[in-house]
């Protein structure tokens, strides 16, 4: 079964730099640093003052349920900048069996040309 040195083997970097202990300790240190910085910030933080209220550039604050960003609104800018790409590929994805088979025929033809001619 699994002996101890084989377990230790896995901590050495084999093919691929991969050492779980290094990663886990690194994450722990990062969390520690973040906690310390947070401690610094906490001194200037006063309860029940204007600081705690959220400020929507003067507009009234919505109630909680409305504040949730829906899935389709995420990455809006990304989608907007890649409109041309998505226009092409939405046209490609017609949920249509015959088109699926046509794509199969196209790939088969290209492969025939590549493999058969070369």
């Amino acid at each position: 079964m699994i002996s101890l040195d084989t377990l230790l083997e896995t901590f050495k970097t084999g093919s691929g730099l991969w050492n779980p202990l290094v990663w886990i300790t690194g994450m722990a240190i990062a969390f520690l640093i973040a906690y310390i910085l947070r401690g610094y910030g906490k001194k200037e933080y006063k309860e029940k003052t204007e600081q705690t209220k959220s400020f929507l550039s003067g507009n009234p604050e919505y109630e909680k349920e409305k504040m949730h960003i829906k899935g389709s609104n995420l990455y809006w800018g990304f989608m907007e900048s890649l409109k041309w790409f998505y226009k092409i590929f939405n046209k490609m994805h017609t949920g249509n069996v015959t088109d699926y088979v046509l794509w199969f025929v196209i790939v088969m033809g290209i492969l025939f040309l590549l493999v058969g001619v070369i």
Binding site: T94, G95, N96, V97, T98, L102, V105
Partner: protein
């Protein structure tokens, strides 16, 4: 070359079936196309089994030791064809029952009028 007409018939059957699947819009015609491809492949297997002036591979009333043993065609492609025919029946039954369900839901058999996959 000229003896290969059966193989060319096989290619023609497969291509007709593929044409029906790619260019027809009716679900029933698509199913027919798939069965055409299947019968083309079965015809290919059977034509592979044939040998010039050979009989069916059945030892009726003779044994390997007896004289005038007939020249027999290949038995394995027959078995493969039998298997693939039964498989074709199974696939056909399932496809047709799905077509019935699709007709119940959408009231049409035209591929373009179905729901598609984009919401």
């Amino acid at each position: 070359m000229i003896y290969n007409i059966p193989f060319i018939a096989v290619a023609a059957l497969v291509l007709i079936g593929l044409y029906a699947v790619v260019f027809k819009r009716n679900l029933i015609k698509i199913v027919i196309g798939i069965t055409l491809i299947e019968s083309g492949v079965n015809l290919f297997l059977i034509t592979l089994a044939y040998r010039q002036d050979s009989t069916a591979p059945i030892w009726h009333g003779i044994t390997a030791s007896s004289n005038n043993v007939p020249f027999m065609s290949l038995p394995v492609p027959h078995a493969l064809t039998l298997t693939s025919i039964v498989i074709g029946v199974a696939v056909l039954a399932l496809m047709l029952s799905l077509v019935i369900h699709i007709y119940r839901h959408y009231g049409t058999l035209n591929v373009n009028k179905l729901g598609g996959d984009e919401e």
